[in-house]
């Protein structure tokens, strides 16, 4: 699975309250949520993300509230994948569960060489992010096989539907 998009650089500790403030948690309509994505924190984010974006962020992306609305808002704005130094766990689960690839950088120092606005391609299965202009490659931790299957099914609901009817197998993923 390969994803192409423009890099949007974000810093450390981007919380779900700034991704989508609680005043909009009165709906899960994707269009309404996307309209208000990063409203207080990064005005114009949606315009930049439209057409396909890969977020490149620092440590602890998505900390705070469990609101899945944050992932819906990002996805519907045009975010195709998130690559970060680290993720907060509930956001990480939510992202995988909604089929939005979330990968962790292997060489954290190299992140600084990724420039905001550059076109990049992410090979999700192999965990390789390539900057189109320079051809420079950055490696990420591969997602566990179990999570890759969820991503490939488009999310946990899709995965569940695929598995239905199959005999449950014990999961050896690590």
């Amino acid at each position: 699975m390969k994803i192409r998009g423009r890099i949007i650089r974000l810093g450390d500790n981007v919380d779900t309250d700034v991704i989508i403030p609680a005043r909009y948690l009165v709906t899960h309509d994707a269009e309404i949520l996307a309209k208000h994505v990063f409203e207080d924190y990064y005005p114009g984010f949606r315009v930049r993300a439209a057409g396909g974006a890969i977020i490149v962020a620092g440590e602890n992306f998505g900390l705070g509230s469990s609101r899945e609305h944050a992932v819906i808002a990002l996805k519907h704005s045009g975010v195709k994948a998130i690559v970060a130094k680290s993720f907060a766990r509930i956001f990480y689960r939510n992202s995988i569960n909604l089929g939005l690839p979330a990968l962790v950088f292997r060489e954290k120092e190299s992140l600084e060489r990724l420039k905001d606005g550059d076109e990049a391609e992410l090979d999700v299965a192999n965990g390789v992010l390539t900057v189109i202009k320079t051809g420079e490659k950055f490696s990420c931790d591969k997602m566990p096989e179990f999570m890759m299957r969820i991503i490939e099914a488009g999310g946990l609901i899709g995965y569940f539907e695929r598995r239905r009817g199959e005999k449950p197998v014990e999961n050896k993923a690590r």
Binding site: V18, A22, G64, S65, G155, F160
Partner: protein, 421 residues
């Protein structure tokens, strides 16, 4: 073979295996699933795509808490959808407006949080259940949807960080100060994916209410859950609610694979978390005198009877400073009623405080106490992110209920020891 951590013991039991290893992904059986009116409707919608039948209606708990009673038509509609779901599937553990309160408090009050119980909630502060030795894990709506259909959840068995707290707290220093100091020490991502396990003399001395405050803030270190090691208090809790059958000695074996940090709180002073990060913890003394616009006492962190009582003692015979408002949201209707019966509410109101319906409201900037542009609040709640309690230019300082009450009286951030008799 090494011993087992507390979380390994619980997850082994819930996944029907003699032993699960740290880092392994397993499917575990859930004891209780909690949904509220904000994350619940999305969970229900996803659930309906994959199933027509709730795995066990007796194990699903639906609580209205984020905006109670609703202040917008949209939220009223979300509640309406949840009511129809509750009715359709015969969910008896439904806490209607006026009969519950903030979900994590309701779970505790209704006896769901017995030691060794696996509780999944579509809310990040589900870890609060760890106060009594339950394993509370916060998830998003889609995870909750799959639990609704199957009663199971995939979990990565987390590493354990034992937090051993020693020392007796000085006058004017409370469980909230300890909890914020722990977050400050570990950092907001220092325990990501891990389970915190609280032990030590200071914790043993804490009441269950104080332990709820402690467990509640576990998620602010990035942790998956935070468990207080079981002792006579948690066992008594389980027995009181007739849940003694589930008791498990929730503590890690001495030879298990875990990390450990030690903290001595005997010299700890009252602290605040300064904007815009919970781990930005400083002694109150460093920000003392900063003018405030609002003081908020409430939330799943600190809206309990002991918190309200403490505040009322500081407020007794005093008035809230001109130009400042004190917003008090009891954590549950039971607490509200008890505070009314014992005169606590009257003390708060005579001092000039406003008491709202039990709700999360102000804590997350949803209703009943939202901050305006540039306003400063001191709050007993749990998060101070940009825009958390209202406008993006507002500022939130997190503190103990005593610091909140003292600051309300003085109109500026105040060390509560000045006002405690």
């Amino acid at each position: 073979m090494t011993g087992l951590t507390a979380i390994q013991k619980v997850v082994s039991r819930k996944s029907g295996r003699p032993r699960v290893e740290i880092g392994e992904i397993v499917e575990a059986k859930v004891d209780f699933l909690m949904l509220h009116e904000v994350t619940g409707p999305l969970a229900v919608e996803e659930f309906e795509k994959i199933s027509g039948k709730v795995w066990d209606p007796g194990r699903v708990i639906v609580v209205f808490d984020h905006d109670v009673p609703p202040s917008t038509i949209d939220l009223a509609n979300q509640m309406r959808r949840m009511r129809s779901f509750v009715k359709k599937h015969g969910i008896s553990n439904f806490f209607e407006i006026g009969r519950g309160g903030i979900a994590h408090q309701v779970l505790f009050e209704e006896g769901f949080d017995a030691p060794g119980t696996l509780i999944v909630g579509a809310d990040s502060h589900t870890c609060t259940a760890g106060a009594t030795g339950a394993v509370g894990i916060g998830v998003g709506s889609t995870d909750a949807a799959v639990v609704l259909a199957t009663g199971e959840i995939w979990l990565r068995v987390p590493e354990t960080l034992v937090v051993e707290v020693k020392g007796r707290l000085r006058r004017g220093v409370f469980a909230k100060d300890v909890a914020l100091s722990i977050v400050g020490t570990i950092g907001s991502s220092g325990a990501t994916y891990k389970a915190l396990e609280y032990s030590g003399e200071t914790i043993s001395l804490m009441t269950l209410s104080e332990r709820l405050t402690l467990a509640n803030l576990s998620v602010e270190t990035g942790a998956k859950t935070g468990i207080v090691q079981t002792d006579s208090k948690s066992i008594e809790y389980a027995e009181h609610y007739g849940r003694s059958g589930v008791i498990l000695d929730v503590r890690s074996d001495p030879d298990s694979d875990m990390e450990r940090i030690e903290m001595d709180v005997s010299n700890l002073e009252p602290v605040v978390s300064t904007p815009h990060s919970v781990d930005n913890v400083k002694p109150v003394a460093e920000v003392e005198g900063l003018e405030i616009d609002q003081a908020f006492l409430g939330s799943c962190t600190n809206g309990r009877l002991d918190d309200l009582l403490l505040a009322s003692r500081i407020l007794r015979g005093r008035k809230i400073a001109p130009g400042v408002r004190l917003v008090v949201s009891p954590a549950s209707f039971k607490i509200y009623l008890e505070a009314l019966r014992t005169g606590i509410i009257e003390e708060i109101m005579r001092a000039g405080g406003v008491v709202t319906s039990p709700t999360c409201g102000a804590c997350l900037g949803m209703s009943r106490g939202v901050l305006a542009e540039g306003e400063v609040a001191v709050s007993s709640s749990n998060r101070n992110f940009i825009g958390r309690m209202g406008d993006k230019r507002s500022k939130v300082f997190l503190a103990s209920p005593a610091t909140v009450a003292a600051s309300a009286v003085e109109g500026r951030i105040t060390d509560p020891r000045r006002l405690l008799a």
